[in-house]
């Protein structure tokens, strides 16, 4: 069926709302046809991932829209940028990169978007509500908004998120529509001990495996006997959206559209059912590391951006201790969370331990790592997934407690007892 546009859509397309809106609508309409949408729908918010600087083309796009006078028409948050605005000079970030990344950030800011500069906007005051139609970019906020909050967004690519924010419209397809939010495959946990289920290190591993299994389908997890924390769900989703194209998952009894197994599948039978065993999970945990038994150069926490609860957890682990002088310890977070962590006293023990902070960006989005860093350790499944390709470093995956212990010892230590 052909795409039907409203009079207002037509007006935007014909330039009555200015040239930036016209350009955004022109791209949106072509994309709506790619998505085979019948119509566009109104959105109440957007999250722009296009703010991340990756090169001259993305910068040209941002500055073209800004120079045409683009303004967002719905409340819009901004994802990480390519530079920590106030601290990049403490790291080997090339000046040219920093300047261009800043220009790109400024272009999006000039459109009236909120300069949150975070990949965890859902852990700020700008969190969407259940059932709201939104257009979000960045794979991890997308999967969190859909799965944990029950807001509705399709998996928007960079460059399109801003077109939705400017026009306030999105193609009425995919996860915006109730019928496409039903589970497709059922994943049962067979023999996972509760002690492991309660541990943070379990969720990135489960997410990694879920992404590999589900690819772009909606997986439903059944058999969790503990209630995961928000940060555990965040880690699960971010990793599943890295190893696969997962934009929505359900956990029976936990996530809002999966109060029961039947609800998760909207009464339909699963296309496929599988059991995950400890053997599968152990094998996957090993895939998250490309190095082992190494001397350690750096610990990096905070992808997605560290939350206040994670700062609290880290402060408890690090208080009164000091890291090994040869190891660097970095936490990536947002300005918003940093300020609250400072105000509530959980930042100081982390800094006293020897950790440094980077805000607005992360090690994957800005070229900040010194070349002598060869082996990094993290509790983040997303860092584990992308750092070998993007950074060319060896990588060890462990829990937050493992990371702290290893930083103190100066070499990799992992508690294997939970995974036996």
């Amino acid at each position: 069926m052909a795409l039907r546009l409203t009079d207002k859509d037509q007006a935007m397309l014909s330039g009555k709302h200015g040239p930036a809106t016209q350009m955004a609508m022109r791209i949106l309409v072509r994309m709506a046809e790619v998505y085979e949408a019948d119509e566009l729908l109104d959105i109440v918010g957007a999250h722009i991932d296009s703010s991340i600087y990756v090169g001259d083309a993305g910068l040209e796009y941002a500055e073209r829209l800004a120079s045409l006078g683009a303004k967002v028409s719905v409340p819009t948050t901004l994802n990480v940028t390519g530079v920590d605005e106030h601290h990049w000079q403490e790291w080997p970030v090339p000046r040219e990169w920093a300047e261009k990344a800043q220009r790109q950030a400024d272009a999006y800011k000039s459109m009236g978007a909120i300069p949150t500069w975070t990949c965890a906007p859902y852990q700020t005051e700008h969190k969407p509500k259940f059932g709201e139609q939104i257009a979000w970019g960045e794979s991890n906020p997308i999967v969190f908004a859909n799965s944990v909050i029950g807001a509705r967004t399709e998996r928007y690519p960079d460059l399109l998120d801003v077109c939705c924010a400017i026009t306030g419209r999105a193609p009425a397809v995919g996860l915006h529509r109730t019928e496409n939010r039903a589970g497709q495959i059922l994943v049962r946990l067979a023999d996972v001990p509760e002690r492991l289920q309660a541990d943070d290190s379990f969720y990135p591993v489960l997410g990694y495996l879920l992404g590999q299994i589900a690819q772009d389908r909606v997986p439903v997890v059944d058999g969790l006997t503990v209630t995961p924390t928000e940060d555990q769900l965040k880690a699960l989703g971010a990793t599943a959206a890295s190893s696969g194209a997962v934009a929505l998952f359900h956990i029976v009894g936990v996530t809002p559209e999966a109060q029961t197994l039947e609800a998760a599948f909207q009464g339909r039978p699963p296309q496929e059912t599988m059991e995950l065993t400890m053997a599968d999970l152990r094998a996957t945990r090993e895939q998250l590391s490309t190095g082992a038994g190494e001397t350690l150069d750096m610990v990096v926490l905070g992808s997605p951006h560290f939350s206040l609860a994670e700062f609290r957890q880290l402060a408890r682990l690090a208080v009164g201790k000091s890291q090994h002088p040869r190891v660097q310890f970095l936490v990536t977070t947002s300005r918003i969370v940093r300020d609250v962590a400072q105000a509530t006293g959980v930042l100081q023990p982390v800094l006293d331990f020897g950790a440094r902070l980077t805000v607005d960006t992360c090690i994957l989005a800005t070229p900040m790592l010194p070349p002598e860093i060869k082996t990094i350790m993290t509790n983040s499944g997303k860092y584990a997934y992308y750092s070998p390709g993007l950074l060319g470093v060896r990588h060890v995956y462990g829990s937050m407690a493992d990371c702290v212990e290893s930083a103190i010892a100066g070499h990799v230590i992992r508690d294997e007892s939970l995974w036996k």
């Binding site: 083309a57 970019g137 690519p157 960079d158 460059l159 994957l364």
Partner: protein, 141 residues
């Protein structure tokens, strides 16, 4: 010459050697826009240069920044000559649409069936027309 009929998502003409994989790929962390090399070290095509070739894969994976990376590659002249996916991949289509909008550089993005994708082998020369037809010597049906 044998012919495969694809469905043009972003129409265009292109010719090049096929580079085929069954594994989805994220261009962010997976594609070097300066060299056109596939750099996802877990991917079967790791180390291959895709610039100027016809890349055939099921769909993209993961990151939203795949589109931005392909746009960089288009501007730098290191993009594949065309991308064929099994099913419609909006992320690749968008990069090509924005490339045309910004600097008049786009590549064909064409959807083909799984059976047709399986009939194409790496190294085979493909000639693609605006209407989505793909010509080559000897597909292995």
């Amino acid at each position: 010459m044998e012919v495969i009929q694809g469905r043009p998502i972003v129409p265009g003409m292109a010719s090049g050697e096929a580079l085929v994989t069954n594994e989805p790929l994220s261009f962010w962390g997976g594609y070097d826009a300066q060299t056109g090399e596939i750099i996802d070290r877990r991917h079967p095509l790791s180390g291959q240069i895709a610039a100027g070739k016809v890349l055939i894969l099921p769909f993209h994976r993961g990151s939203s920044t795949t589109t931005a990376m392909l746009l960089e590659a288009l501007r730098a002249g290191t993009a594949p000559a065309a991308i064929l996916t099994t099913g419609i991949d909006p992320f690749f289509a968008l990069a090509s649409i924005v490339g045309e909008e910004l600097f008049d550089k786009s590549i064909p993005i064409v959807s083909i069936s799984k059976e047709h994708a399986a009939a194409i082998h790496t190294g085979q020369r493909l000639d693609m027309a605006e209407d989505g037809t793909i010509r080559s010597r000897g597909f292995s049906f």
